[in-house]
Amino acid sequence: MTDVAIELQDLQIAYTVRGVDRRVLRGVSFSIGQGESYGLVGESGCGKTTAAFAIMRYLPRNAKVLSGSIRLNGEDMLAMSGGKVRRLQATTLSMVYQNPASALNPSIRVGRQLAEAFEVLDVAKEEAETRSEAMLQKVQISDPQRVMRRYPHQLSGGMQQRVVIAMALAKNPTLLVLDEPTTGLDATVEAEVLDLIAALRQEFGTSVLFISHNLAVVAKMCERVGVLYAGRLVEEGPAQEIFRDPRHPYTVGLLRCIPRGGLRKDETALDTIPGFLPRLGADLPGCVFEPRCGLAKEVCREHEPELIPLGNGRASRCHFHDRAHELPRVAPARLPAAQAANGKPLLEVEHGSKTFKQEGQEVQALVDISLAVRVGEVLGLVGESGSGKTTLARLLLGLTSPDEGSALALDGEPLAGRVQKRTNEQVRSLQIVFQNPDGALNRRHSVRLIIGRALYKLLGLHGNDRDERTSQLVESVRFDQSLLGAKPAQLSGGLKQRVAIARAFAGDPRIVLCDEPTSALDVSVQAAILNLLVELQTQKGVSYVFISHDLGVVRYISDRIAVMYLGRLQEIGDAETVFAGPHHPYTEALLSAVPNLEGEERTRIRLEGEIPSAANPPSGCVFHTRCPRFLGDICVQEEPPLAEVEPGHLMRCHIPVEELRRLQAEAPPMAQSKTTT
């Protein structure tokens, strides 16, 4: 074993909330070796960030260390004086947060901020400038001098995160704590940043604590993994082995929640983890996972298991660790078979365009989109942020009116561009489930009012009829009747999303737009919501337009998939055809950017740079500036048509489909080197 960089021993931390101590970490012990990368996974509320803050000594004022120790290079950090801690924070510890925009001071130029990181180490001013420049080069910013003169808001999210990483590495830290460093980034950018972190770790030999809720990212980035649940480390071991052969029911459950390996809704239902995370500071005499565990026995309720070593550096805190994989399924293995989508188009958009005026400039958010949502199908909509997915959804709903020349039709009848001009029937037909249930539900209204109001406005139901229908609705989304009086703040994220789904279904819609409905939720909750959506779709025969950045989820739920880039439709076809290929080079890049749990190194192509500005889109094929299979002048000069390459499979690319098929079967091309600023 290598030397230990940091070691946590039986760390117990409580937050004082309203005068009561509530334990968040219930005795966490782990250590990270020199140059090792350690991943901490678990759902939100498990104590991951608290552990990171404890190591950084950044705990909020109401936090209390009840017992335990944190040793950095053998020294007890908790016993150190304030001055010594500050010195450590300046010289040996670094942290990168989820949101780079708030980690940078918006009023100071990037160069100055970065130089400060050197100056605290007593580096002279000019020297600090030179070193900053070199550091920006290390984080693969191609024109450091220009970037240094900019303010943070002038950089894209990916660039900002690179700058933050450069600042964190300025002091050549012993330990680098990364708290969800790529969660706010697009998949393509995430892939780049992850590659960068991996490369820098090699170069600097820094120890890394990597916190993420995304198991696949952790599997890719970390050598060892600790699974945290309710402030307890429940399982620990080498990353690949834990994900291949989990030995704790919680890890088993988590892994079963994730749609992966091309799983589809008609094959298997996702499994879920029943119940909720125990409340902060709840008294748990037995195993912390016992209330939600399908394997729990009497002994689990009374005695908390030790962290039992399993050899090979693995350990599991479960009495029945050898039987963890026998954890019974909660959800049925199969969902009821969906009615075969019949090919009749239900909602059509022809030449749908949307131009926004921004500071006198015209920004084309959507350009000539023509597609149809068919009866009973799920149309997945994918693309990076800024590709126009949400604008398209809002346009279909009538929340933003389309440009002249666009035509919408429902059932072949023309559909007005603005929701106010649509008939009640049409308004009812199109509903949405928003991404964030916190904003989508009025926090001052009770669940009964939220759903009842929709029933009243959309179906004109009153009194008993309305109450009855409300009961039916909440039952169909598996929401308990007794909670009808509750306000959204009393409900967990999953329950809130169920209410939002019930509201969307209140008027018997024919199409429900799902705008990232699960991305604000933990994986176990995501699985339950996905199952619910699939079940509702089968029952009611509705169609979905399903927007998501998570390709695993899209593949799981969608019948057809549309890929968007810079407001243009690039590819559309049956889900399996699009995933199986040949695919559009952009789709290819998106697919290749997704880290997978199996840990297999997929053929990787990397998109360089960011999505260009819609105010000034590239000429010809809009993707040509980033295309890994760039042909030449034709791509710059001429926009390829959306052509049918196979039956039902349309693509916008100059490369003939057979050529693409051949190319994509071969080794991937190297991403072109272009300036990324």
Binding site: V427, R444, Q490
Partner: protein, 296 residues
Amino acid sequence: MTTLDEQAAPIAIPIRPDETKVERHERLRLLVRSPTFLIGCFLAGIWVVCAIFGNLIAPHDPVSPDILSKFEAPSAQHLFGTDKLGQDVLSRVILGARSVLVVAPLATILGTVLGTTIGLVTGYYRGFVDEATMRVVDAILAIPLIITALLAITAVGPSRKTLVLVIAFVFTPIIAKTVRAAVLGEAQLDYVQAARLRNEHGPYVMFAEILPNVTGPIIVEFTVRLGYAIFTVATLAFLGFAADPTIPDWGQDISAHYQSINAGYWWPVLFPSLAIATLIVGINLIADAIAQLFER
């Protein structure tokens, strides 16, 4: 519906207690414990009691001139002395609370209601109406409050009704701005979009959906404005625009006697001034305590 029933399990587990109720309860408890709030309530409370039960508390008739005993210094008989008409200053101070404490709260309530409505409409609909209204609001705000009030009162003549209307009128734009800012933030949230997707009418969205979510800033603004309203009423009375010149009024009494200070008769000025000061300080302390609570 048997297929996924096992999934109902999550809901069988008891949910969290009503966090909003707990929060409200917590807030009230914090408020009642806060010394700022308690002192404020005490100071303001004195004058509220005086305004309501003044007739019972006042030792003398506040409006019975007694030329023989004018400008008597404070004594056991007249604790705060007598004024230039020989009226008991203490009694006048006690009953003077009434005129201020009727006009100021009424004016503030009216201003808050109008301001909230304008703020909701402009913040929700945006566009041309918003632009136009906000320019008018800025114009009103550019003129000093007291001058606007003076002009209006001179035009229609002082009365209790005019005072209430005038003060409400100058407060409306200020409150409208605060409310509009809060509404702008709320209108971005998806629940407003969801309301549009069931063809809700504007008034329902504004008053039933958005209003309950912006009550915090409105309450804070109300208490702050109340302090200013009291100050404005007193100032106007001092300048000769008392609501009703025949009843005791602090501002009016100060104005009637401040020239006598040189002659050594300080008491008819000091006590009404202290009354104004304590009431305003009291209200401001309450406002501070409430604002702090909502900022948390």
